[in-house]
Symmetry: C2
Subunit: 357 residues, 2 copies
């Protein structure tokens, strides 16, 4: 049956990078028999400008109906003046929550062709390949009660709730262990179990679920130490699994270790393999509309979509291979460009990938 | 009036490193007219072994009476089997909370003599000097309600509360702005105001307090981006101020950027300048009792004590200078040793500092 993809370009550089990713989709549909159709819709600030909400009910319904979603990026200074409830980010959070996309996969991979881009010494990051598995629909991001209240003494107090139930931890544990089975079979679960009761339970459930994966080695690490170890010796990790808030911080830290966040895709999956796919970088308003942005993270997001939602591993490999080829050929957008490489535009990078496909 | 210091060596390498720091104190008392007396007591695992609690009421009372506290380190695998309520860490948390030590100063400084120790490329960290100001008695560390409960469907749920009142944010804001006035006059406040209401209020209060410090430039950054920027270009920061949980993560990340956490002291201050001083590193049970640990972070904690609690800036400068001198002379404990330096023991490093004083 034909699979349906909802394409949500979003704000800033979103439309440009997604434009190159859909060219890749088109090529696979036309020349490689990929059985997919797609339609586009507004999300984030561009939806707010048109409809006064970052995510209309109609687009949410389209997202629910789709088999997968390809997202560009949302947000920008233009919308920072508005209330948190209508900001572009809210669309992301609502899509994650309403679609129950609890399993967020964020690979931090350093391409050997880009080894110099890292701020770390080359020997510490060469061939870095860490997978961060972040719980995406629970924890303090969605916990109730939350808000700002006025105390008896008249001063205000802001509060949020960090909460995880056993079943929420179980399902993300399975995602991590299953991912590890396809890799180096090591999972490091990150918590703050020496201070937070919510993460004491997290640790206990991780231990329990790990019994179902006897081949996988499970270790635990406190989040402060995990941040240190990522900086000190990131290659010690295979899969890291953690909650929503810690995952937000650690996955960005890990991504930046590669020095090339314009290269990193991500997947957010539900229990049935439906997913939303997006680059981990932001909407980069400063270079929006200038045909300068790196489309590779978005193109690689299409690869993750084929692999995780459509079971098209071979076609995903083709995309990964094409990206590797263009890097070998020396093509670089501004963000990853160094002396001696071929500086190309967003569209030219798309051209190069299509040619390599 | 003679100042009273409570010395809490703690566990693991704690007694060894504190032993060298008190030799420095002794020297200042005997030869430089420092008017201080000190007594020692048990804390952490060693207190638990003797009294079945990581912090006795008696020691807590001594701590309240003292003008300053010098702490080594607490914890170790030996005590990880026990309940969170009696673990060594609990002593730390209780001291912070009972003494209202809300202002945690964690400098991340890269000594030019140790430039190679960093995992980052030298040019990105040379002369790094960032001060992390972490709120230490509030936020999710101490918020109520907290615990593990059983839901109606029978599954358990762990929960914690992230909470900050305006007055808590105000007082830590003042600590950060005052610190910035003595430095490069730039404060970056770190929050997650696009998701957490508690940090929306945090941001608002930071803006308000900043008006009292017109010379200081205040910027705001989301915590995920802050983790990225620390890895990408740490020298962009002067003072960073943030809540308890984010501060735990970011200060360890920043410390590790220097590659030499054996060099970094910290101060935890109350509203009147009373403080607890300790190295940021842990109790390193693997090398405990071997005369191998680096005592310099603890010695530099004495320097911070003199500066912040006793108004003895000149004497603090002397210690800092002595530490710099021993580094110049090439003395290195194992943690900071590289080919060609003089490898020394804990006690020999203490000897060298005393000689340089
Ligand atoms: C935009 C923001 C709400 C989001 C998050 O915090 O999850 C982003 O930082 C991310 O990691 O996808
Ligand atoms: C030991 C632990 C409770 C403590 C904390 O989380 O505050 C430590 O990591 C620190 O940063 O001082």
């Amino acid at each position: 049956m034909t699979k349906k993809v909802l394409v949500l370009p979003g704000d800033g550089i979103g439309p440009e990078i997604v434009g190159q990713a859909t060219r890749v989709l088109d090529a696979l549909i036309e020349n490689h028999g990929l059985d997919v159709t797609y339609e586009s819709a507004l999300v984030g600030g561009s939806s707010f400008d048109a409809h006064e909400t970052p995510l209309t009910d109609e687009v949410l319904a389209q997202a629910k109906e789709a088999d997968a979603i390809l997202l560009g990026a949302v947000g920008g200074p233009k919308w920072e003046q508005y209330d948190i409830s209508v900001r572009p980010e809210k669309a992301l959070l609502k899509l994650r929550s309403e679609l129950e996309l609890f399993g967020n996969l964020r690979p931090a991979i350093l391409y050997k062709q880009l080894a110099d881009a890292s701020s770390l010494k080359p020997e510490l990051v060469a061939d870095l390949d860490v997978l961060i598995v972040r719980e995406l629909t629970g924890g303090i991001y969605f916990g109730q009660p939350r808000g700002i209240r006025t105390l008896e003494n008249g001063e205000r107090q802001g509060f949020n709730t960090y909460v995880y139930s056993e079943s929420e931890v179980e399902r993300i544990a399975h995602v991590a262990f299953k991912a590890a089975m396809l890799r180096d079979k090591r999972v490091c679960s990150v918590d703050k179990a020496n201070v937070l009761e919510a993460t004491e339970l997290w640790r206990e459930v991780m231990d329990r679920v790990s019994k179902e994966y006897p081949e996988v080695e499970l270790t635990h690490m406190y989040v402060d130490n995990a941040a240190m170890q990522l900086v000190r010796a990131p290659k010690q990790f295979d899969v890291m699994v953690t909650g929503n808030m810690f995952g937000d911080i650690l996955s960005d830290c890990a991504a930046m270790l590669t020095g090339s966040i314009g290269m990193l895709p991500s997947a957010s999956l539900d229990a049935n393999g439906k997913g939303m796919y997006e680059p981990i970088h932001g909407s980069a308003p400063d270079i929006a509309g200038q045909n300068k942005a790196n489309p590779l993270a978005t193109i690689l997001s299409v690869s993750m979509m084929l692999r995780h939602s459509f079971g098209e591993g071979a076609m995903a490999d083709k995309i990964d291979q094409a990206v590797s080829t263009v890097l070998d050929q020396g093509y670089r957008t501004g963000d990853i460009h160094t002396e001696g490489d071929k500086l190309v535009s967003t569209v030219e990078m798309g051209d190069a990938v299509l040619k390599a496909l």
